[in-house]
């Protein structure tokens, strides 16, 4: 409980966002402490992905404040790029650089942004690729890898920046079922190592096992949040109860 005294890594205050007439984020207040694993769940269209993407400003917000380690998130330019470099992001569709090898994908950030010498970046990249189990694929290009392998490379690419926190936007939603676990295993490992994580997912097993806190969203608002065991067994709101009932069959 010593962490609570520190500045939260990520803090959202009264964040609102509209897409035209659609109010996609409603008065969002959220803090993520150092080392905390926060899992965001909710029906599709609930705004959970949008929320995740506002944290490194891939989505802009209309009002409210987002603080990274207590400092307001810059709006644009070099200052924004510097903050983004400190926050890893893993996407649903992997988004590896198609024209570069796996190794180059991982060294791109360190070499271009952190100005790490190329040889050192490659050495570090190989260690990371080994850690996520795709070291043998280092010389291939992304299209030659399976979805699960690509997503693990994407995680390694983020880790190469030594991020203060990592955002996962439905990292297993585009994967074939047999590949989901290989990606989740890497994420579990990260969580165990103390990485600060915000994870948008439909994987309830992962949420139960790894999350420190679960946030349930619906219709752009945070409806309920709490410890995973408490949330999954005794949801306080009717909306969360309905959602959990609807996915029980799966």
């Amino acid at each position: 409980m010593t962490d609570t005294a520190q500045t939260p890594v990520i803090q959202l205050k009264d964040v609102n966002k509209h897409y035209g007439p659609l109010h996609v984020l409603k008065d969002i207040n959220l803090t993520v402490d150092k080392g905390e694993v926060l899992v965001i769940i909710g029906p599709s269209g609930s705004g959970k992905s949008t929320l995740c993407r506002t944290i490194n400003r891939l989505e802009t917000i209309d009002s409210g404040q987002i603080l990274i380690e207590g400092r307001p998130l810059p709006q644009e330019g070099k200052a924004l790029a510097e903050v983004r470099a400190e926050i890893g992001m893993v996407f649903q569709s992997f988004n590896l650089f198609a024209h570069r090898t796996i190794l180059d994908n991982v060294t791109m950030g360190p070499v271009e942004v952190l100005k790490t010498p190329k040889q050192q970046a490659q050495d570090e990249a190989l260690v990371l690729l080994d850690r996520v189990g795709v070291k043998e694929q280092a010389a291939k290009v992304p299209a030659q890898l399976s979805g699960g392998q690509q997503q693990r490379v994407a995680i390694a690419r983020s880790l190469a920046m030594h991020p203060k926190a990592m955002l996962f936007d439905e990292p297993t939603s585009a994967l074939d079922p047999e590949m989901i676990n290989e990606v989740l295993d890497v994420m579990v490992g990260l969580a165990r190592d103390g990485m600060t994580m915000v994870v948008v997912t439909h994987e309830m097993g992962f949420a139960r096992r790894v999350a420190d806190r679960v946030v349930f969203m619906a219709d752009g608002a945070i409806i309920e949040e709490g410890a995973p065991e408490e949330f999954f067994t005794h949801p306080k709101t009717k909306r969360a109860q309905e959602f959990l009932d609807s996915i029980k069959g799966h």
């Binding site: 490194n56 983004r84 992001m89 271009e112 030659q144």
Partner: protein, 219 residues
């Protein structure tokens, strides 16, 4: 006029004409690529007025007949105290028109990249310039090899515009006009030029295909 007689009389001039066509093509295409890339950067940059300028450029120069633009460059620009020799006039005309098409090729190359890779690069902390240099341009250029091969052939054919000026020495088409105003050459001079164009185009196409196969991005 039989081919043997044509070559005996004008063979040397044909060689010079072919070399002139080649050099016009090479210089013009270089200009097309550089200006086309610059216009494309304008069209994707974060500043809206610059994007509008880039789009406007393409709309204007893609939709003007090359010959009209050449007439403008040769006859109208001197009124603004811009006087170039004929060779420069032809090159400028070809570059202005060609770069509009070149930019379209690059834009369709960019559109194959997908917003996801750009977002991934942004979330790594890469700046706009770094994203252009590392992600966008290399992929756009590599997927634009085949359309650019076609454009190179089109640029070569467009250099025939020079035949409408008194440029010395004439290029392939200009030489045909020259021969046919001096003698009754019939169809043979045209055939000789056509073969030179077609042969060059064949080589360009062949090389373009080889390059494309080599650098094509597997998706």
């Amino acid at each position: 006029m039989p081919l043997s007689e044509l070559l005996a009389t004008y063979g040397g001039m044909y060689v010079t004409a072919l070399l002139t066509t080649w050099s016009l093509t090479a210089v013009s295409f270089l200009g097309v690529m550089v200006l086309g890339l610059l216009v494309t950067v304008l069209r994707v940059c974060p500043v809206k007025p610059l994007r509008v300028v880039g789009d406007l450029y393409v709309q204007i120069f893609r939709n003007i007949p090359g010959i009209s633009l050449l007439v403008f460059v040769v006859y109208a620009l001197p009124n603004l105290n811009v006087v170039w020799d004929y060779r420069t006039c032809v090159i400028v005309t070809v570059v202005l028109v060609g770069s509009a098409f070149g930019s379209e090729n690059l834009m369709s190359g960019i559109n194959t990249i997908g917003v996801g890779q750009i977002e991934a690069a942004r979330s790594l902390g890469l700046t706009f310039t770094q994203i252009l240099r590392q992600i966008v341009v290399p992929q756009a250029v590599r997927s634009a090899i085949l359309p650019m091969t076609n454009l190179l052939i089109a640029v070569m054919l467009t250099t025939a515009l020079a035949s409408q000026t008194p440029m010395k020495p004439p290029e392939l088409t200009g030489l045909v006009s020259y021969i046919n105003t001096r003698t009754v050459g019939g169809i043979t001079p045209f055939v000789a030029s056509a073969l030179a164009y077609a042969g060059t185009a064949f080589v360009i196409g062949f090389v373009g295909n080889r390059i494309d196969k080599k650098v094509r991005i597997i998706r």
